[in-house]
Symmetry: C2
DNA sequence: GTAATGTCTTTTATCGGGAAAAAACAATTT
DNA sequence: AAATTGTTTTTTCCCGATAAAAGACATTAC
């Protein structure tokens, strides 16, 4: 068992959803771009769809025969990549307590516990190391540095430096830049979310990330853009474990974003700086309150 | 052939150099710490030293019998770790022309060319990716982003932000902090190097790194400290390919460092800022002049 | 009784192999 | 002739296995 076919399964599931909308599927290369996979995978998908009577496939003709049923889908858990599985397991262990700073991380043990090979775990740890939470001892184990208050403060310090710069660069972008349309679209989405906050408050997290990434991109600096990966990772898990007052926090954040957007549109550097600072300050506060002083983070 | 014993060979060579200085070697654990290896490796070293008649080894007694000869040493090239070998090969390819931005990187081909397994190459690429020079296409190849002028500008932009902050933090450190002694020591080394610049100018690179790392550490921010790895890597290779006017450049840099050190010692924020800016500006200039406009970097 | 040595166990670093997925090439179809 | 399908080759992803190196435990020496 050398490689799971999760790419195929995930693409298959996504392709099933396309079936609802059309009477026939497009060409193989087109489907490939649509699903983000190679033609090889597309053909496997089509083959199975034909087998299970979902479509009639004859060269260029891919006629939809019936709507997909829930049994047609592959189980969700089989569509995740190994890297995702390992990350989730690792973060769960990290946040599920007992993860003291200084603790050593054992590749073999992790691999056995998750049920994967050591190579995948090693690759994950190397990739994960750039988040600043673990550190490698040469020829030896990894050391957990811990999800501490110090970590959160160091993270937000850089975030603030970078975002203030990016926001300033954003506001200085020429009138005809495409970003202004992107910003308008995001503003609209914010307003829609604000009006349905009671039911959709948990959709904020994803909108938040798109908004900040748009701003950071204005820096035109790959190190600033890449650094947002660290923030996104932390906030991703932060949102998962800290559900306390989630709705209210998100409501406040949306309003801050709207003020921030207005400031950007005004293109007044002073206003941009003020709105950005205000939002970053409350974001930092939110993160910090979820880390008890002098202890490790714990799930809510 | 699963793992080379370069750790042993490298430690053995370093241990040989200790033989010149003493009549007998210390205990195994002590040797281990001294050489940065485990006792297992220390014992392999001692075993070979006894075999080749370098020492007489009987439990606690490790008497030196003769001075090491050049044949006793393992060849230099056998002491490098695989990661170092791969990095060097990769950077040579990158700098040896023909490395256009957008080019795709083939793991298998690289592995075959260097003569190592794909796993090691994969791990190297993952580790290397944080330098911002390559990018991964999911389930597919890596893409070379190129050693371009844009890269150098993005890199130096962050460097300047971080170093100005770190320098300010450094100057604000309390009188009794240990860093002031470190700084004094570095100042002395700078003066010594300056006085023998004609013969030792190529030693500057290493001193430069230690100096800047000391300053960055004052930020107490792991992201700032870690970012210096990117700078160090780039400058390391930069120094290797751009030998033009090396002596003069280093002479100027040493003087800038001395002025920078004096500013830090004055603890006057204005002076620190000015000295830091001046040095960073010329460092950026040096880097930029080695990258021809609109083209890839080429070795000198 | 502390610290060293001797011995045994575990973990890391690395390889080769094999299935999944991508990519390249050839043959059709419109 | 441009795009699509059919076929073959190459590459990526991941595992299990193995030697090097680290680490743990037992024994001995001072």
């Amino acid at each position: 068992m050398s490689k799971s076919n999760n790419v195929y399964k995930d693409a298959f599931n996504r392709c099933l959803r396309l079936l609802d909308e059309t009477k026939s599927l497009p060409s193989e290369p087109e489907l490939g771009t649509l699903l983000g996979v190679s033609r090889t995978t597309v053909r496997s998908i089509l083959a199975r769809m034909e087998e299970t009577g979902l479509i009639d496939w004859n060269k260029r003709n891919k006629t939809v025969l019936r709507a997909p049923r829930s049994e047609d889908f592959f189980p969700e858990e089989e569509t995740d990549s190994l890297a995702e599985i390992i990350e989730r397991s690792f973060m769960r262990r990290l946040l599920a307590g007992g993860a003291e700073a200084g603790m050593q991380i054992n590749e073999l043990e992790l691999a056995r516990e998750i049920g994967v090979g050591t190579t995948s775990v090693r690759e994950f740890l190397i990739r994960f190391s750039r988040f600043g939470l673990i550190e490698k001892r040469r020829n030896s184990h990894w050391v957990l540095k811990g999800f501490t208050r110090a970590f959160a403060l160091e993270l937000t310090e850089i975030r603030e430096i970078f975002e203030l710069r990016s926001a300033a660069a954003f506001a200085a972008l020429p009138e005809d830049s495409a970003v202004w349309a992107d910003l308008d679209r995001l503003e609209l989405e914010h307003r829609q979310l604000a009006s349905e906050i009671a039911t959709r408050f948990n959709e904020f997290s994803e909108l938040d990330e798109r908004f900040h990434r748009l701003i950071h991109r204005a820096s035109h600096n790959r190190f600033i853009v890449d650094f947002y990966d660290v923030i996104a990772m932390i906030f991703h898990y932060h949102y998962q474990w800290n559900k306390a007052e989630e709705r209210q926090r998100n409501e406040v954040a949306i309003q801050e974003h709207l003020a921030y957007i207005a400031a950007l549109k005004s293109r007044d550097p002073g206003k941009v700086d003020a709105a950005c600072r205000k939002h970053l300050k409350s974001a930092r506060q939110t993160l910090l309150t979820s880390i008890p002083e002098g202890r490790q983070m714990q799930p809510a």
